[in-house]
Assembly symmetry: D2
Homo-oligomer: 342 residues x 4
Amino acid sequence: MYSFRNDYSEGAHPNILQKLVETNLVQQSGYGEDEYSLAAKELLRLKIGHPNAPVFFLSGGTQSNLIVISSLLKVHEAVISAKTGHIFSHETGAIEATGHRVITVDTKEGKLNPADLKKVLADYSMRPHVVKPRMVYISNSTEIGTIYSKAELTKLRAFCQANNLILYMDGARLGHALTADSNDLTLADIGQLTDVCYIGGTKNGALIGEAVVFNNASLAADFDYVLKQKGALLAKGRLLGIQFLELFKDDLYFTLARRANMLAMKIARAVEEKGFSFLTKATTNQLFPILPKTLIHELSKDYQFYEWEAIGEHSSAVRIITSWATEEQVVDAFIAAIKNSK
Amino acid sequence: MYSFRNDYSEGAHPNILQKLVETNLVQQSGYGEDEYSLAAKELLRLKIGHPNAPVFFLSGGTQSNLIVISSLLKVHEAVISAKTGHIFSHETGAIEATGHRVITVDTKEGKLNPADLKKVLADYSMRPHVVKPRMVYISNSTEIGTIYSKAELTKLRAFCQANNLILYMDGARLGHALTADSNDLTLADIGQLTDVCYIGGTKNGALIGEAVVFNNASLAADFDYVLKQKGALLAKGRLLGIQFLELFKDDLYFTLARRANMLAMKIARAVEEKGFSFLTKATTNQLFPILPKTLIHELSKDYQFYEWEAIGEHSSAVRIITSWATEEQVVDAFIAAIKNSK
Amino acid sequence: MYSFRNDYSEGAHPNILQKLVETNLVQQSGYGEDEYSLAAKELLRLKIGHPNAPVFFLSGGTQSNLIVISSLLKVHEAVISAKTGHIFSHETGAIEATGHRVITVDTKEGKLNPADLKKVLADYSMRPHVVKPRMVYISNSTEIGTIYSKAELTKLRAFCQANNLILYMDGARLGHALTADSNDLTLADIGQLTDVCYIGGTKNGALIGEAVVFNNASLAADFDYVLKQKGALLAKGRLLGIQFLELFKDDLYFTLARRANMLAMKIARAVEEKGFSFLTKATTNQLFPILPKTLIHELSKDYQFYEWEAIGEHSSAVRIITSWATEEQVVDAFIAAIKNSK
Amino acid sequence: MYSFRNDYSEGAHPNILQKLVETNLVQQSGYGEDEYSLAAKELLRLKIGHPNAPVFFLSGGTQSNLIVISSLLKVHEAVISAKTGHIFSHETGAIEATGHRVITVDTKEGKLNPADLKKVLADYSMRPHVVKPRMVYISNSTEIGTIYSKAELTKLRAFCQANNLILYMDGARLGHALTADSNDLTLADIGQLTDVCYIGGTKNGALIGEAVVFNNASLAADFDYVLKQKGALLAKGRLLGIQFLELFKDDLYFTLARRANMLAMKIARAVEEKGFSFLTKATTNQLFPILPKTLIHELSKDYQFYEWEAIGEHSSAVRIITSWATEEQVVDAFIAAIKNSK
């Protein structure tokens, strides 16, 4: 059995482990003040184009989301998200647990646009009987594999600025978004077009680790307190610093993501050639092909993946994910199994 | 410069790194369902003597404390702690941030006893105008290096049971407590004498990782939800499982702690022989010798440690910590520096 | 100008004010231990058919909802509500502010049924990545004027019991529901068919005051603490006790509600006779007639009411509310204005 | 039996009830937008000397404290209070329940001074491992009957301003403080020397009601949302507006408080003449005389009051409270009982 279930089935990229071994006995300060973390933050600031952006390393996506959001919202403020957004769909009410409503929007592709936000602001205008929308949460790539174009993000950003809304991007799979064939955004664009974002490590080669970057530095004034308060400040912060140092050395981060996307596109082409369609356009390392149940049954004998949603009586959309660690020969065998199906 | 500041200045015990490397590309389920985590939990259940105890791996002490406590208390309930307790003194209000008061008790040695609890219950009797004390938080070893004896813990436990109080032990340095010369408790005793505890990895050889064990299994019924909600459920749970598997293989955990204690005792003897005293009795790997400021100044040229508290005009208590990774020849040099001081 | 905007535009029923004056200088215990509150609780227990039901008096609906819900849910648990439910639509995120998601259901009539709940349970099955639905919030009458039949409530209750869901009824306008022409529920039925409910005073003749009744007594074990903690325990609890004593003396509560309904039905008949329809069936003291904009404009010169929702280009649904204090001759004039419109 | 237990044993001043009756059937807007509330706010702004100060009416002290504090603090910020402060001693962890630590200070007279605050700031300097002190909570008069002098408050205010601390005064018994013989503060001084305060109605003649005044208007920007979210926005806000309108008409508020103080001082003089002392200096309407247990036993046959604290073997401090409604002839009888005791 081979798993296409997710992009965290293996450990870390070997460079990371090697660096952990090499530096293991060097004494370092705790709580993120180690030299590796400091260097990694400097490197990320350079890459994102904000020499003074506060950067913090956290352990996972839910943790990053809940700490960023709860540190920025006042008690009566809310965050707007696509209904498919991770903070609404898969984080066990983590945001509500910090006291804030997640206002959801039904979307076709998991993305928000200014018209969506305009409607939310209208729906939430009856002050003080409703919460105050104050932040917009987007994911790039989204939870259903789509990405934002530069034009889309630019318009969203303009709307947010005009309406006093903080724009926050969840980049759990930012690498995959920025290396997609149809992408026209750079990391520096993300730095310009969002107030705060996180660059995901866990789903792109790290053991754990997400880098929260405050492109709007003033928003981070007291973030260190909240990081500690929510249990996210690791004593051995070196573990996070070393990983991001390795991931952004020679742009390994993007190399890994590009490879995952490339393997996904190989599968996507085979799906298309066989005449099957997709729930959402195949763009990054998450694919949602709609396959006949018979084929799903057949493939399930050798491969693991999620059945996502029934489509009609005889088909289902499934989720197939590739990663930096996916073996190409397995992908080829998987493709062959699709091609050879009746 | 050599640091005696804390027991998390280095990385992980080499066995752990080696195992991470060996298993790196084996595909595993996410979110703690990997085979290493399952095996490590089984092993811990065996060691603590509860074949059915729910065990969860978390990333750090503050995280463990806030999730355990907030998952067990109702909104109007409070936890009792020594004023020196980590949850009160060094966790940025993490417990209050989940909505609960930490009721503090002044203590001499950082430990709670039944008389302390009795007074708290009396002080908080004016229902409903006060919170309801419902949990007792203790650390072993404590934040000031002392340990509980079996008799002390047994009495505390009896009081808690008689008064409907949950007894929770923070074991950030449980290894050091259980391997101290004067200790008479076993891990199995901890399993019998507390409702819930955590076995600390970070301060005893792990990169990150604390194992929360529910000796009272019924208290854990929904803990998995809270773990996820608070951002503590790692996608690559294998990172935690592998570490605890290695730490408890051949009781490495205790070997490492014993070594840290042994080196601390070596230093303690030198301090005593030189005629200096201690703020709290030297018992585990945290020492609080009271030294003349001139000697502190001299030692500071080559060694890092915290000045803890001024004692009179010319002396201060300092905090010196040894660990599994502390180099014995450095300890010897440090001892020589003390002995040779005027 | 005369207001049909809501049922809290006037003060209190005169009997209440008279009793406040009569008892004003009698010394009483504070915090709800006064003799009036004790007697009123006893009376309510009798009426609802639970001689031992814990009863608490609170000041308003949002307060009652947030305290009941937050006292009963654990941190990872959620409450299910119709999207029109007051806790979701008009309480400024009060429930989320206590840490809990409100899971919403789109409904036609503002009511929940077992099929709705079944779907929610299916949608929230991916433990531990989602919150745990644990409570069902319903309003009777609903926010859009409809009511539950005995059959509907019985089925809902059965589903809740079978699925470990607490059933909570918001009775801000319970009087109006139970005195509607089409109603077949009694207050004693509510006592049997819900776990906890509140009987609303503010919208039916009280100055302030809602009576929370725990039909499932075990759920109230520590409610007094939470009441105090959330700032809801009035020092002069007599103010609440006296009001409920008067409202339930000789069933004044139902007399007042019946009168409000009767006046609303008079208006409803005029609307129907004129050939206009309703957004939701005219049942209680909240009417949602769909009127031509010209007529709305005309009526607005002498009467205040809310425009609720545009219906096509030339019409809108408006909300018209009658109360215990509505003057019948004004209702007659209003009806005449409708009848005489072109 | 006559009660000296507290100042909320009776209902409201008759003027208030009369006005409630007079205005009862006048239709008014809900949620504090009624004409009485608007006029009362205007009147309070005039009295406190801030023509633009945002004013809000709430129902009680705990409610006011928790809403003011939680609306002003960020998640990692804390409030400093005397250990005797109501928010720490008698509000069931209401502040912690909103996520914030109450940092306590041991005091002799229930009052804070700059030296106390300086010490707290030093104790909480180890950022980010500790909460950030951001607000100072004081009561005037205090929970043990003492008051702030103008010099004391001026110094405290200066320290707060120099250290970015918000100064908040709980004025549950502000009337009694400002009419004490030894007082040298005016309501306008309070307006100048605090950022936010509340003027207590419940303990000085109202049925319910506290007026929160933001002397620093910018702090109130979104207070209306929080008021609603926490369940404190009454539908019939007229109930609160009418009361404050009556209380501040012709300074009735101060007349009532002065009378309560006068009666207390009468008792205090008798206590002194008999040779007994006080736990805290007799200043306002709360007295803490230290009486022989035999006398306490004797007085308890006819009068109710709290035994506050045992003083030695044969005496206790008791708490005796007078109010606007206390009957002077009962006071005289009580005094006689003291004088005639052996």
